[in-house]
């Protein structure tokens, strides 16, 4: 139902910072579908467990296109859209690390 993750890396700066915590609502998404703008956690074969923002959803192929906010973010621009079944959950609560400047 819920899972907690800690964010590493900086591809979602300035909104998500290294060390922040996120609480996910996990599958199924029947009553809470993945939508554009959601921040999701998913598994990627090459990079492991990742967190990115949803840029578009293709309901016909059950795939979503995910991006980071930074230019050098490794995301769907690199590895293509991801299957919905690889999604662990979407962020419903973001606990920010204190003392940030931005």
């Amino acid at each position: 139902m819920f899972r907690i993750f800690r964010v590493t890396g900086e591809s979602l700066l300035p909104e998500y910072q290294e060390g922040d915590y996120v609480v996910l609502a996990t599958l199924p998404f029947l009553f809470n579908p993945i939508q554009v703008g959601d921040v999701i956690v998913f598994k990627n074969e090459s990079y492991g467990t990742m967190i990115k923002r949803v840029q578009s959803v293709d309901n016909d192929t059950d795939r979503v296109f995910v991006v980071g906010t930074r230019m050098d973010s490794v995301d769907s621009r690199r590895f293509g859209s991801i299957p919905k079944k690889s999604i662990t959950g979407k962020v419903i609560w973001h606990i920010r690390k204190p003392g940030r400047n931005t």
Binding site: V7, T49, M71
Partner: protein
């Protein structure tokens, strides 16, 4: 505090990690790549002028050389702009901008000069492009508490370049 609670729970239970992965190992930034690219733009303008000054027939060899100079000028002006944008967008933080309030304006100036360097074969514009990026390099190294010096590049065009005192 809520964050503290999560942190304590994390230490106790070890929450999973989710990577907001970047391409570059974060923290590696250096304006020297942009400075060299801008110097290359000046060098290409010089080579273009030199070739043109020889006069004579606009032979196939001439066209070939000129095309190559122009291509490299285009690519390096764009590379310099790109590399500056990465440092500006990914590295510079609010506290840096407080100390260097002119940074945004300077970056915009660099973008404009870079574009103008592509559109024209004007040496003065290209030299201004190098100088604006030098000023950006001074700001960059200051944010790291590293002093800089100016020295002539040991290759053509021997323009002044800002180097960190490491």
């Amino acid at each position: 505090m809520l964050f503290k609670l999560f942190e304590t729970l994390d230490q106790r239970f070890g929450f999973e990690r989710a990577k907001a992965h970047c391409d570059i190992p974060c923290g590696i930034y250096d304006p020297i790549t942009a400075q060299i690219a801008a110097l290359t733009v000046v060098r290409m303008v010089d080579l273009m002028a030199e070739l043109e000054s020889k006069g004579g027939e606009k032979s196939l060899a001439y066209q070939n050389s000129m095309s190559r100079y122009i291509t490299v000028k285009e690519e390096h002006a764009e590379k310099a702009k790109h590399d500056i944008r990465v440092i500006w967008g990914d590295y510079l933080k609010a506290q840096h901008l407080e100390k260097h309030p002119g940074a945004h304006e300077l970056v915009h100036k660099i973008m404009m000069l870079g574009s103008k360097s592509r559109q024209t074969a004007d040496r003065e514009t290209a030299v201004q492009f190098v100088e604006a990026i030098n000023q950006f390099a001074e700001i960059f190294w200051d944010t790291k508490g590293i002093s800089t010096k100016r020295a002539k590049a040991p290759y053509s065009p021997a323009l002044e370049v800002v180097y960190p005192n490491l």
